[in-house]
Symmetry: C2
Subunit: 336 residues, 2 copies
């Protein structure tokens, strides 16, 4: 690449586009699918195919613990995992604002490459568009992940039963607070890192072991844990009962939330998922999560109940109860 | 939807997002996949799966002959078809600029719905993000199309042979000139319409009939016919010989190109594809294209040759020859 900044011409379909693709993109993601340089890819898949798409518009694009590239891979990989899929392939589409330093794009491609390897997916096809300065914001990334359904998975809202336990794999609110600190220029004593990570292997492992005893999987991204639980309550017409003291939260994250007046239940995560599982296997599942990631803080945070249909109720540390309502609008815009 | 304009909160993952999804999006694309309202979809697909992704940033978003929604469906559907796939499913991801009138979004959703029905694909999963005013440009759309490989297809650059004929299905440069006229406020005697259309059925038909005698399929979008042919010449190390008089061009499109000093070979199309086919079946294929669309102007425009490796050479109407080089940078930015 001769140029130091992305120009409109890099999105034209001409020689500049080709240079960008050949020197940066194709060379980063070499595999038999992308090497074809066609408009798409032909993939060997049999059985039930799981697909999920997400666009990423996070600002800033680089933050403590990750960047937009890593987020874009993990986000779609995790969504496929949450549907009971084993992600295998990824499409990758960029909308770049004219003037983005080529160095930034290189860093992002590197992150994408590392994150893809880590989660075992191959980037098989893509697209690059460039928009004029002031018509975008540095870079937006869309990824679509495709995979096979795990043979033991039967993940659907309608399988949730009263008595099911609600388990989270790790402590909440890290991603949102990392982005927020970055934006507001807050320096906490020990800086908060995004929790962005791929969840496909841990999900695959618990599906191997507990199969259809797992009724629902959902990652708690935008809208946070409260958002997911509100959806569950409304869509199942059952109630969700939460114990505040069981909810895992890092000390500095709790402090940052306090400082900014944010409720961690609503803050976005990028490496936290909820499992709604049959009560018989909940404790074994918790143990399995602990073994999978000894540094994580998995916990049973609540259960499904018939006591208060369509409502999420939180029992506070001092025993009071309050209804957890979903957010109406925006807590932290452009968090992912 | 109470609101008349899209707000940041519509991308938050909270109640506003849910209202947008339920009232506009889920209700437009009802099918068993999207009705699950999960983060992704599980699809019944077996054999080889074809996938393609594209982001659409066209400006203006409404133009004569189509809009960004229709373009976004046809674009990915056509890319799957060009890989020898039969498109079945579509993911749909929006990046909306705060302030977009809800009416515009409704119109676009309607176009998407109609275009999806016309090409026989189902919208199975999606995503909506909202960015602040001035950080996007009304609406960007990413689609990823997924389908099955046509059993008779073997589409790859490496199968191209000297003597292969190059066929286009229709006259060139309509989409680019339609967008250009719209932008420049040009009023031609009879306004030029975009040629955006789904090509999957015509491709499937010719694959049924001519199978592996079809060596390459490629739609001539950004970079135009010249862009595709330059790629073929470079990637195969063969030459491409074109006859200007054979290239189909509507009178008013030719006039508009003259007026604006644009070469129609470089102008983007959204319903034109090239077939590189074995010479033995080229004329039958041409006849098949004529039967498929009696209003189109398919033509054999040239052939593959060993005479001038890696070069595209055009013989002009008066017999002169010139090399057709690919564009370096931008002819018409944000054409798709």
């Amino acid at each position: 690449m001769d140029k130091k900044k992305i120009e409109l011409g890099h999105g034209s379909g001409g020689l500049l586009t080709r240079e960008l693709l050949d020197e940066l993109i194709f060379s980063t993601f070499r595999n038999p699918y992308i090497d074809q340089k066609h408009d798409g890819a032909v993939l060997p898949l049999t059985g039930e195919v799981v697909i999920s798409t997400d666009s990423f518009v996070v600002s800033p694009i680089f933050f403590k613990g990750g960047d937009i590239g890593e987020l874009a891979v993990n986000g779609s990989v995790n969504d496929v995992a949450m549907c009971g899929g084993i992600p295998k392939y990824l499409s990758l589409a960029f909308i770049i604002e004219e003037g983005l330093p080529v160095e930034d794009l290189k860093k992002i491609l590197q992150s994408i490459s590392i994150a893809a390897k880590r989660s075992g997916v191959e980037v098989v096809t893509g697209d690059t568009k460039v928009v004029e300065k002031g018509k975008g914001d540095r870079i937006f990334i869309n990824t679509t992940a495709v995979g096979m359904k795990h043979p033991g998975a039967d993940i659907t809202m309608s399988r949730i039963l009263p008595g099911d336990q609600i388990i989270v794999n790790n402590s909440l609110a890290q991603h949102g607070m990392a982005i927020m600190s970055e934006r507001e220029g807050l320096a906490f004593e020990s800086a908060i890192s995004s929790d962005t990570t791929n969840l496909n292997y841990v999900v695959s492992d618990i599906l191997d072991r507990f199969g259809t005893q797992i009724h629902l999987l959902r990652d708690a991204t935008r809208g946070g844990v409260a958002g997911v639980l509100s959806e569950i309550a409304v869509d199942t017409s059952l109630g969700v009962f939460l114990k505040e003291e069981a909810i895992p939260l890092q000390k500095q994250v709790a402090a940052a939330c306090d400082l900014l007046g944010l409720d961690p239940l609503y803050v976005a995560n990028e490496g936290v998922f909820l499992v709604v599982a049959h009560q018989d296997i909940a404790h074994d599942l918790l143990e399995a999560l602990k073994v999978q990631d000894p540094e994580a803080s998995p916990a049973i945070i609540g259960e499904i109940t018939t006591a208060h249909p369509e409502m999420v109720v939180l029992e506070s540390k001092i025993g009071g109860r309050r209804v957890v309502t979903p957010l109406i609008g925006e807590q932290l815009p452009r968090i992912c």
